[in-house]
Symmetry: C2
Subunit: 465 residues, 2 copies
């Protein structure tokens, strides 16, 4: 009975609100000590309540949260980007994050654009691809401008098949490509024959197989329900999607069997998905996008509806100003690297996958996914802390997504820019790490915080509403 | 900042070693208070160290734990009980728990025997089935006497297909039937046409489909690896098997596709497994049995290798006395009931599924499965407590099965009868609840403790070794 922790049949922790050194005796007994992340409001930050036009921001935020929670994103169909994404055309290439020109594009995003040009047959090799990409004949636009979200480089080109997620509550649709897996893949900027062959197989074999099965499921696949279940199964549905990928497969299986035309093709499709625990990520992202868009345009709302990075800039948008990006330089990711790579190889933070945190899961639900720390680093205690802290800067909680270990509390939902500025607490993000050079691919995964400048600028803009 | 729990960005708890009332101020602030479950050693209990023959019990237990941890249970094949279980014959019916005669058999176990006689075509109706069952012409024996484990009533009859799990480290095999699902099913004592039709479909369609796929997987399916992964996905692999069932499906899918002979049959097979999150339970159980048997026969070991109930008696066996049952009356389960049922309908504790707790998972790994409390009752905090407490009565920890939220600590493994007697802490069990009358089926699920008498009798027997 020498140690407190031995005496006590469970994890214990001690609050330390004062100086860190005061807790040293507890640390000496291996009792986890949590430094309370609290500081007085940043100087000069006053709570904003009303817009100049007399709109109560809290009332506006209630409406935003209500709409996001009411969303019911369902996978209804698939199609090629050029055929199904409104406004798409043959020279339009989408990318993750806020707007960026070819000149300012980071390595992996350039790699993904060049790779997509080769995959499309628009360039014969990397030299020609670079020439075309820099010539001005390709239109680049953020995925977010087209109801779309793309992980990492987030490049969407005309022939790529996309999932179509319909928010059944509001009727709006969102889109995302299929996940290629980890390693040397296009979305991490990977280039090479194996990358194009995989994309081609996904277009010619995987997509028709999945779409044929989907067409035989009249109600589609309820992605929100899968996320909710997966959150009871150790996923946070951003960097851990093992359970959700399994549940998605289960939801598709009978239809895949009934629409089967070739056993070997079906086997290869099942193997491809089974070997990629991140397959669900793109569905999780598009579901988040579909859930958030109905909150866009609510006057006076201080809730964030977009958070995205292009590897050069980090950008956010608010419900009350849905067309305006508030940007800052993309941050450095702290994480675990694949063998042979170090942080010197890492590109800054990249991808639209932070739509998951924006929609109340991902890094905000890390407490539901303690095993994720084996992939992104940190400890299970840090995973618990990350979620608990996010309640400080969110306006609501998502009762549709509950965390068992927190006694089934709803996840923190809807980052309130005012609270970020008042507390100085920045949103928690889980992410993959791309090599900074075009053509290499994934080198690791990790965690970081959103940059403060985006929120400061947004806060200043809120004052002017 | 009124409440301590508000101040603190995470679940906090307070140790109370003294009088319960001392912690009242903390409870008033909604801080969870845990009463330390500690009491002085039971009167007259001395630590046993050596057998009379001079064997060091700790050394013996080290060997037992080493063998259990080294186990590698793999699903290699399937077959009908009469064809593959050594010593089986046409009039042999196995049942869960320690030996029991027809006269002393509880309602659901009688129901399962009668139902199995009708399913086998040995009786035309329940009246005839009861006559045959009570006539003495059927031989009843515990599953455990035939390297087999059966959930709930645990009845195995000659034509039933069984999984064959081989412990690749030691070469021994264990067996279990396929899981029927919940509700009115044979293993809960359910009788009626829908029960027999389901069993018949499982024998004629499900079994050949799975077995054909299995035959095309040269290395079989590594069940230990699936349990280890599922424990990072919210399962404890006794009463929660949603992740494990998903992972098992994923492991089988490419082979199921490649050996497919009829799309509609394959679709029905996939639907059947998808609709039963407990499908993996029987595999989890047989894997536990296969892992534990090599520890049987280690002289001087005080580690428990069998814990099982027949709904009338609860029985345990030790590594050092593998042929001797120590029994006590089966306990009452405290749990959640399906609509329309109450604890008045409940049969006492029943089934071989406690092989999971014996092998270091199930109720012993509840901390890995906080969401299970929605099925068996209790709170996530109780789930954490249950696991933590089991470390007090186990001899080892299973590094192969780790619990993320406990910082990836191995599960408590190998109940040491001496520690049970010294601490007064009894093994924690999760279980389903059967209706006490034959023919009805499942009425709920819950938790309970093993009865003390088994351990006291075993402890006395250890003194005589």
């Amino acid at each position: 009975m020498a140690k407190i922790s031995d005496l006590f049949g469970k994890p214990i922790a001690v609050v330390n609100v004062g100086l860190g050194s005061m807790a040293q005796p507890m640390r000496d007994q291996n009792v986890p000590v949590v430094e309370l992340e609290w500081k007085p409001p940043a100087e000069g930050i006053k709570r904003l309540h009303m817009t100049k036009t007399g709109i109560d921001m809290d009332v506006a935020n209630e409406e935003a949260i209500k709409r996001i929670k009411a969303a019911r994103p369902v996978l209804v169909s698939m199609g090629k980007a050029i055929d199904v994404i409104p406004g798409y055309h043959g020279k339009l290439f989408l990318h993750a994050g806020p707007p960026v020109t070819w000149e300012r594009m980071c390595g992996p995003q350039r790699g993904a654009v060049m790779g997509a040009l080769i995959y499309e047959g628009m360039a014969k090799d990397e030299v020609e691809a670079e020439k075309i990409a820099s010539s001005g004949e390709i239109e680049f636009a953020p995925c977010h401008h087209y109801h779309t979200v793309g992980p990492m480089a987030g490049v969407v080109s005309p022939s790529m098949p996309v999932f179509i997620i319909e928010n059944k509550t509001f009727g709006n649709k969102a889109y995302s490509t299929m996940n290629e897996g980890l390693g040397k893949v296009l979305r991490y900027g990977g280039m090479g024959p194996e990358v194009y062959e995989r994309l081609s197989w996904m277009e010619k074999v995987l997509y028709p197989t999945l779409n044929r099965a989907l067409a035989s499921i009249p109600d589609g696949v309820d992605i929100k329900a899968l996320i909710a279940q997966a959150m009871h199964m150790g996923d946070e549905c951003h960097n851990r999607n093992r359970a959700a990928t399994s549940l998605f497969l289960r939801a598709m299986l009978p239809a895949l069997a009934r629409t089967n035309q070739d056993n070997e093709v079906l086997a290869k499709v099942l193997e491809f998905i089974d070997r990629n625990d991140h397959f669900f990520l793109n569905l999780s992202m598009a579901a988040g996008k579909a859930a958030l868009e109905p909150a866009e345009g609510i006057e006076g709302s201080t809730v964030m509806t977009v958070m995205a990075r292009n590897g050069t800039d980090f950008g956010i948008r608010l419900a009350s100003m849905p067309d305006r990006w508030f940007t800052a330089p993309a941050g450095e990711v702290k994480g675990l690297y694949f063998p042979g790579f170090t942080e010197d190889d890492a590109n800054p933070d990249i991808g639209d996958s932070t739509i998951t945190e924006t929609a109340g899961y991902g890094g905000f639900a890390m407490a539901a996914a303690p095993a994720i720390t084996q992939f992104v680093g940190g400890t299970p205690q840090m995973a618990l802390d990350a979620t608990q802290e996010m309640y400080e800067i969110t306006f609501g909680e998502h009762e549709g997504f509950t965390i068992p270990i927190l006694n089934f509390r709803g996840t923190p939902l809807g980052v309130d820019v005012r609270k970020v500025m008042e507390t100085g607490i920045l949103p928690q993000i889980n992410t993959g790490i791309a090599h900074k050079k075009p053509g290499v691919g994934m080198v690791g995964a990790g965690i970081l915080r959103a940059p403060e400048k985006c929120f400061r600028d947004a806060y200043e803009a809120l004052k002017e509403l």
